[in-house]
Symmetry: C2
DNA sequence: TACTTATATAATAATACACTTATATATCTA
DNA sequence: TAGATATATAAGTGTATTATTATATAAGTA
């Protein structure tokens, strides 16, 4: 009796490797409830902009996230059409909510115009 | 509304990194339905014995698998008492059954005395 | 006890990864 | 159009990871 979403084992390994990084995993968990732009992640993780760009690119290359431009900003969101989306949900449900990170940004006035 | 099994995000990242390797992921999937010894994995993966030993050691270090000695053999099995076990199940259910690997061993007469 | 089988550990080498710095591109604004 | 802001890409570097070879340990067997 198989689950609705069965993926080739090597592909799952690749997805897990991708998610097996604290920064990327947290990005994905956040995107599961709010779309965000790169500048917000840079603030949250206190890391460099290129580092974040490289992380989201890897996620985009696998089709896990998608981007859409809004003016200067590029808004990232989860790609709900991804074949991996059901799998992803089964992983993310085990993670504590990361909403506090956005709340902190808000408090610092850093949740700026780019995303509402 | 949270799932019964919520794990600290950094720990999940570490577990995912651990599972983000084709060999280890397949080992875990197989152990989900049958206990196995190292020699069987060596045959299945056509790799060296030390390579397999090092993989299972990593899984053991995280408490995902446990071992029990039976004569010369060390039988590995999933540790159902692990705090990660429910999480693991949610990952494994997306993987295709690996029973054919054991069937192949059987056919080759390599599923020897160590495990029944 | 000597030999064999099963497994673990250590050292090493090749590769992959994630970060940094520097630079390029794209959009917005004065 | 010039400058500012947001993001991407490229190159380089240090670290982590995985496999290999060699050796150690532990149990079974003649």
């Amino acid at each position: 009796m198989q689950e609705e979403s069965v993926i080739e084992i090597e592909e799952v390994a690749n997805i897990l490797k991708l998610l097996g990084d604290k920064t990327r995993l947290t990005i994905v968990k956040i995107l599961d409830s709010h779309d965000c732009c790169v500048c917000e992640f840079v603030e949250m993780f206190k890391t460099s902009q290129p580092a974040i760009s490289q992380h989201v690119r890897k996620l985009k290359d696998k089709g896990i996230v998608k981007e859409s431009r809004r003016g200067q900003w590029i808004i990232y969101s989860l790609n709900k059409e991804s074949e991996y989306y059901p799998f992803l949900q089964d992983v993310l449900k085990h993670l504590p909510d990361q909403g506090y990170r956005l709340d902190e940004l808000e408090k610092q006035g850093l949740r700026i115009s780019c995303c509402e």
